[in-house]
């Protein structure tokens, strides 16, 4: 009897191990399924011209499909738009986020910084579509039109909490003796932060910035109501502008342009995954 019970228990133990392994492995399937599909359907669209030409009009694309030719054009307008908006957002968000993170790390206990910390969580959890409509009311309505500025404000709001958190966490795990040694040598707080703490935390902060960029670069919803989109390359920041995820959305909704979806998605996916892996690799390297 006891023998049977033991056998049963051991069997249950084995079964549990196999179930855990099976389902954990199954979780990897979607990643490879998505990667595989985007690669297979998108790789033949990637060519030099795909990155240097702008989106074709629906009419041009229709003509090409009728003639049985590949759709001309590419996503250069989207790439440049993404770069402009991301650049503007990062220029403001990175210093602000680092300073705010430093504030939270330096004053962990006072009430104001606890409020700021709570609000950071709140903003980080806010759905991106809400950031989009709020930025619409902040920027698009007063400026009376969609613009690259509006798009970058939305991206700024999304990046800010991510950078604050990574900066704060990295600064907090630095040994206290580091800061104390700096202060003992006669440096004032600003100097110690600038010359000792920030350089020591550089790895973590840099990784955080990379992850923040990879998180917002694929955001579509907040750009739909702010940057709107534009079918040619534009450098003026007060006019509507395109972005890679916006183009994917456009292609998805236009039957004539559907073939372009996969090239654009492949580009975006590879970019985001590379950024993620780089950040992970750097974090590991700097931690050692």
């Amino acid at each position: 009897m006891t023998h049977l019970k033991t056998k049963h228990r051991l069997l249950a133990d084995k079964a549990m191990l196999w179930i855990v392994c099976l389902f954990a492995t199954l979780t990897a399937v979607p990643l490879f399924a998505i990667l595989g599909e985007v690669l297979l359907r998108g790789y033949d669209q990637l060519s030099w011209s795909f990155f240097t030409e702008t989106t074709p009009t629906a009419y041009k694309a229709m003509k090409a499909i009728e003639a049985g030719e590949p759709i001309p054009g590419g996503i250069a307008n989207g790439i440049i738009g993404t770069m402009i908006m991301l650049g503007m957002a990062a220029i403001v968000a990175v210093p602000t986020g680092i300073l705010c993170g430093a504030f939270l790390a330096e004053n962990p206990k006072n009430r104001f910084s606890q409020t700021v910390s709570y609000l950071t969580d709140l903003l980080q959890g806010t759905p991106s579509v809400i950031i989009g409509i709020v930025t619409y009311m902040w920027v698009v309505v007063p400026m009376k039109g969609y613009s690259a500025i509006a798009g970058s404000v939305a991206l700024f709001v999304m990046m800010l909490p991510l950078i604050i958190r990574s900066t704060e966490e990295t600064l907090k795990i630095l040994p206290a003796s580091l800061k104390e040694a700096g202060l003992a040598l006669g440096g004032n707080r600003a100097r110690v932060m600038l010359k000792v703490q920030l350089p020591a935390a550089f790895g973590g902060i840099f990784t955080g910035v990379l992850l923040a960029i990879s998180r917002v670069i694929g955001e579509t919803a907040p750009l739909m109501f702010t940057a709107l989109g534009c079918s040619f390359i534009r450098f003026s920041i007060d006019k509507p502008i395109s972005a890679v995820p916006l183009l994917i959305w456009e292609f998805f909704n236009d039957p004539n342009l559907q073939e372009l979806i996969w090239g654009a998605s492949l580009f975006l996916l590879l970019f985001v995954l590379t950024l993620n892996l780089t950040a992970k690799y750097l974090a590991k390297k700097w931690n050692q």
Binding site: T126, P127, G218, W249
Partner: protein, 285 residues
């Protein structure tokens, strides 16, 4: 002098947070006011009409609240059988090994895929599959959206759960082993009771993610403004109705969409706050 300047600089940077958050709430409340005033707060939340015929405009949020709650609940149900094994795999069975770090890299990458690409995959791969299996004739609907949503929230639930499972003290587990418990029993009787509240809080945060997910749901839920009758029928979520109609809306419809946004903002804020509070408590104990 420099010290003072430094303190002021940090303070000013920290001020951006209250300003931005205050701005978000202010913008939502002022523009949602018209809809709430016109329909009444409770009426707006419980009415299921969404029609923009001129003169007889009628907007209610119930179909979208239902859609959001349905997709989120289903996504959570589909997510658990995968995120829990991943958490156990990484945090207990293969803790600290190379396979575990490979698996956690894979889930991290899943978290990094942009939602529009999840939407494309759902639309072009999963939707035909659902049609072929005869689950629903149009392929898109609450079920399709929830399935993809589940994949999207697995990484969030799994990585945080794993962190709590990893923190279970070894001496507790060793105590159970020395009494002759098998690993499965240790997990059931020691790991879950100890890490339980932390694991639970990671699912609360995953719910917070699922509630606001926009593009994936918009591409897969079918976009009909009705209360979904079953899990295979089409509907709309709060985020997807905004994504669909915000660009073309004006006046009362615009305000109604903002009102839906405000409700969504409040729901996610509350859920996230509960999750964070539970995490802090779980970390301390």
């Amino acid at each position: 002098m420099t010290d003072k300047l430094y303190k002021v600089l940090l303070f000013v940077a920290a001020l951006t947070m209250p300003i931005v958050c205050g701005g978000v709430v202010y913008a939502l409340v002022t523009d949602a006011y018209e809809a709430f005033e016109h329909f009444g707060f409770i009426q707006f939340l419980t009415s299921k009409e969404w029609s923009y015929t001129e003169g007889a405009e009628q907007y209610g949020a119930l179909p979208f609240i239902t859609g959001t709650l349905m997709t989120t609940a289903l996504a959570l149900i589909f997510c658990i059988p995968f995120s829990l094994p991943v958490a156990l795999f990484v945090g207990e069975y293969f803790k600290g090994t190379k396979v575990a770090s490979v698996l956690s890299t894979v889930t991290d990458l899943l978290a990094g895929i942009p939602s529009i690409i999840y939407g494309l995959w759902g639309f072009y791969t999963l939707r035909p599959l659902i049609m072929a299996l005869g689950i629903s004739p149009q392929g898109s609907g609450v079920l399709t959206a929830s399935l993809v949503l589940a994949i999207m929230i697995v990484p969030y639930a799994a990585s945080l759960s794993a962190e709590f499972i990893k923190m279970v003290p070894n001496d507790l587990k060793e105590g159970a082993y020395s009494l002759g418990a098998t690993r499965a029993e240790v997990i059931r009787k020691v790991v879950f009771p100890v890490a339980g509240s932390g694991v639970f809080s990671s699912y609360v945060l995953a719910i917070g993610r699922a509630l606001g997910e926009t593009m994936t749901v918009t591409m897969l839920i079918g976009n009909t403004n009705n209360i979904p009758e079953s899990i295979t029928s089409t509907g709309n979520s709060m985020a997807s109705i905004i994504a669909n109609q915000f660009g073309e809306a004006s006046d009362l419809r615009f305000s109604s969409l903002i009102a839906i946004g405000l409700v969504l903002f409040l729901i996610t804020a509350v859920i996230n706050m509960i999750g964070k509070m539970m995490i802090t408590r779980a970390r301390i104990s």
